[in-house]
């Protein structure tokens, strides 16, 4: 399953990230490492960006990009 399968309020653990190098680099730098917990906070309507909480900060990521983040099932 991927990040977008979480409903707002649910938490998941990152399994890996399948984005292209640039995007995955940025996500990794922001601390989205494998094994890290993320919480889905909010989803903008019509597959707009999602807001997640990871470590101590809130991040917004586009829907398509969030789908490249796979979670442990």
């Amino acid at each position: 399953m991927t990040l977008t399968d979480l409903s707002p309020g649910e938490t998941g653990i990152i399994l890996n990230i399948e984005a292209d190098t640039t995007l995955s680099n940025r996500l990794r730098e922001l601390g989205l490492l494998d094994g890290i917990a993320v919480r889905m906070v909010k989803m903008a309507p019509l597959k707009g960006p999602v807001e997640i909480k990871v470590h101590h900060s809130y991040l917004s990521i586009r829907w398509d990009d969030a789908q490249t983040i796979r979670l442990q099932s």
Partner: protein, 681 residues
């Protein structure tokens, strides 16, 4: 994508000089600290990506002054957008020994240490003494403790100074630490502590790329290997975070709070960014702002008007009659005074816009609108630049630097001048006040305020539609993402908000003082000479003047829009700045009147009649056409200059002039001719 961005200018750093750079993540408080250390007033706001260019200042200490450099925020040395590129290029130069600073202040947000220290650890590779400014300690949870000294020794930096830029606490310690860091020699480590010896020897074999520090060379060749795919992609992040997390577990003590706990901001967001309610609230806020610009400002504006009238009466009564008095009363007080009364509106507008940013709300708006914006060929991060465009296009265009895709950035720049900037406000307000009746429609909407909102809406709506059109054939598609941190809502610091509003107001007045005064004087001459030889002839002296002649020459072109020669002159002088339109009309009427007292511009326009037919020169329809003209017209030289700078070519500013002029001309014509067809006069 890199080659699309304008190259960043090199700041004039002098070799061997003692100077200090501030580096850190977006929104961690770098500029707030920079301002406190230098006494300058650079913009501080609760939105990641406010600073988009290098800024310099001087910090004073007991041990002498040093030059201080503030930079845009970045999460790492791998840049995605132009503002980040400014930082990474700058650091690359330091790494190659080009005028490096003697100390780096690495600002970190204490509430999110791990992520912030990532960049610090990259900076450490440079082997330049680092002082960590542990900012925002006032925001730490009660139970969280960070052992600053232990953190400094574990990381191997010169010092860690806890501070709060908001409360102005700890800044003296920071200064001292910077001075000491420069004196004390840091023992250079050849290999980064987060790499094991095996990796080091692995990477040593690759070339060193001309970097001064062996350690930076190692890290860089690792990044190169990651880029070329010969090394696991997340290697650098894993290694650095492993090192940082290990240190943090030894130096921080957290209470019961968990990293994913729901914050107070999240509760606010349940309402403010609600799926459907959120966008409605935003539209409501915009309506409220534009409406209140009109309604709230009336009282202070009337007061300034009264003061101006009294002042000109005073001058008339106390100065000997003559040309000097005429210039002063008709030219300067008439022209500049006509503009100065709009100061309250400018202040109200910038007050609200500052509040929206400073609370952290603007970042949410970007989040809510990203989807819609991408549909129009724009980007979630276009929202802040477009909103700043309501104040002035120039800072708006600069702040598009945070948009990571060139195409979307270019489209944002191209449509941004269609957002009605505050220089149009005097024009709108004058015309609305004079020609739109102050009646209530639909129960509680004031027609005057509504007309103003309509002008803002017209510019914005056409901007969005054109964005869609332009994005079809402008620039090639480039990858784009919207990774943005949503900062916590913060109560704005009153001093900082007021300071910002004050700066905007000052800018407006200085402009009125300089540009408008100069133009008013020149215009006074043009409108007063040549004098009619025979004062008894029925030639109207102002029609006969140079200004009158120029205006009349323009009339055939602007007649179809309903404009007369006076407006024609106003359109010309508007090229210096849009608000000059208003001062131009004022000067012309003052010269024409040549009476003892300053003319009330609004009344003068209302009562102006055609010399032959006796029909009113200006009607609500003409006023509407003129406002529409100003919504679209390209009349700001400074905007073109900045577009040229940001796009690195004359092509785009020229394109802008052409499309905006066409829109203005045909838009105004459509209003005037269409209105006449419908039976309005």
């Amino acid at each position: 994508m890199k080659h699309h961005f304008a190259s960043s200018s090199n700041t004039g750093s002098r070799d061997g000089e003692h100077w200090v750079a501030i580096v850190g993540n977006p929104n961690c408080g770098k500029t707030a600290i920079f301002n406190l250390l230098t006494g300058l007033n650079q913009k501080v706001s609760n939105y990641p990506g406010i600073t988009v260019e290098k800024k310099e200042g001087f910090a004073r200490t007991d041990d002498g002054d040093f030059r201080l450099l503030d930079l845009p925020g970045t999460y790492s040395l791998s840049a995605e957008s132009f503002d980040e590129e400014i930082v990474s290029e700058q650091i690359d130069q330091w790494a190659k020994g080009m005028a490096p600073p003697s100390v780096i202040i690495s600002v970190v947000d204490a509430t999110n240490l791990g992520r912030n220290l990532y960049l610090t650890s990259q900076l450490q590779d440079l082997n330049i003494p680092i002082v960590i400014a542990l900012n925002m300690v006032d925001q730490l949870e009660d139970h969280t403790q960070i052992d600053a000294d232990k953190l400094a020794s574990k990381m191997g930096v010169a010092a860690v100074i806890p501070l709060s830029a908001k409360l102005n606490e700890g800044l003296d310690n920071l200064k001292n630490a910077v001075v000491n860091a420069r004196k004390g020699k840091q023992s250079p480590l050849d290999s980064p502590p987060w790499m094991d010896s095996e990796m080091v020897s692995d990477l040593k074999s690759t070339e060193q790329n001309g970097y001064v520090s062996a350690r930076f060379g190692l890290a860089q060749s690792m990044r190169n290997k990651i880029q070329s795919g010969t090394m696991e992609r997340d290697q650098e992040a894993i290694l650095r975070y492993r090192w940082i997390d290990d240190i943090l577990s030894q130096v921080t003590h957290r209470g019961a709070e968990t990293p994913l706990a729901s914050s107070r901001s999240e509760q606010w967001d349940k309402i403010l960014t609600h799926q459907w309610g959120g966008p409605l609230i935003f539209v409501g806020i915009l309506y409220f702002i534009f409406q209140s610009i009109f309604t709230w400002a009336t009282v202070p504006m009337d007061m300034i008007q009264l003061g101006m009238d009294n002042f000109s009466t005073f001058v008339v009564n106390n100065m000997p009659e003559g040309m000097l008095r005429d210039i002063l009363v008709e030219g300067i007080i008439g022209g500049v005074g006509a503009i100065v009364i709009f100061l309250p509106q400018i202040l109200i507008l910038s007050f609200f816009l500052t509040l929206l940013e400073d609370t952290g709300y603007m970042a949410r708006v970007a989040f809510m609108l990203d989807k819609g914006m991408t549909k129009m060929g724009l980007h979630g991060k276009s929202v802040l630049p477009l909103m700043s465009g309501y104040a002035c296009a120039i800072p708006g265009i600069m702040s598009t630097r945070t948009i990571d895709s060139w195409k979307e950035r270019l489209v944002t720049i191209l449509i941004l001048p269609l957002m009605s900037c505050s220089a149009r406000l005097p024009v709108y307000t004058l015309l609305i006040g004079a020609f739109i009746p102050s009646v209530t429609v639909g129960g509680y909407f004031n027609l005057q305020g509504l007309t103003l909102v309509l002008m803002y809406f017209l510019g914005t709506a056409v901007a969005l539609i054109l964005a869609k059109v332009f994005s079809k054939w402008v620039g090639e598609k480039s990858s784009s993402s919207f990774i943005m941190e949503l900062p916590p809502y913060r109560a704005p610091i009153p001093k900082s908000v007021l300071r910002h509003v004050f700066i905007r107001g000052k800018l407006f007045l200085v402009n009125a003082g300089k540009v408008i005064m100069a133009i008013s004087i020149v215009l006074w001459f043009l409108a007063s000479f040549p004098k009619v030889d025979n004062p008894n002839s029925d030639v109207n002296p102002i029609q006969h003047s140079y200004a009158g002649q120029i205006g009349h020459a323009m009339e055939p072109v602007i007649r179809p829009l309903g404009f007369d020669w006076k407006i024609g002159i106003g359109l010309l002088t508007s090229f210096a700045a849009r608000e000059v339109m208003v001062s131009t009309m004022a000067t012309i009427y003052n010269v024409e009147d040549a009476g003892e007292e300053a003319v009330n511009l609004r009344e003068a326009m209302q009562t102006d009649v055609h010399p032959e037919t006796g029909a009113p020169t200006y009607t609500p329809l003409v006023a509407l056409a003129l406002m529409v003209f100003y919504v679209f017209a390209a009349q700001c030289m400074a905007t073109f200059a900045i577009v040229r700078q940001e796009t690195n070519s004359w092509k785009w500013p020229m394109f802008m002039v052409v499309y905006m002029t066409a829109l203005a001309y045909f838009g105004a014509m459509a209003v005037y001719q269409g209105g006449k067809l419908l039976g309005f006069s």
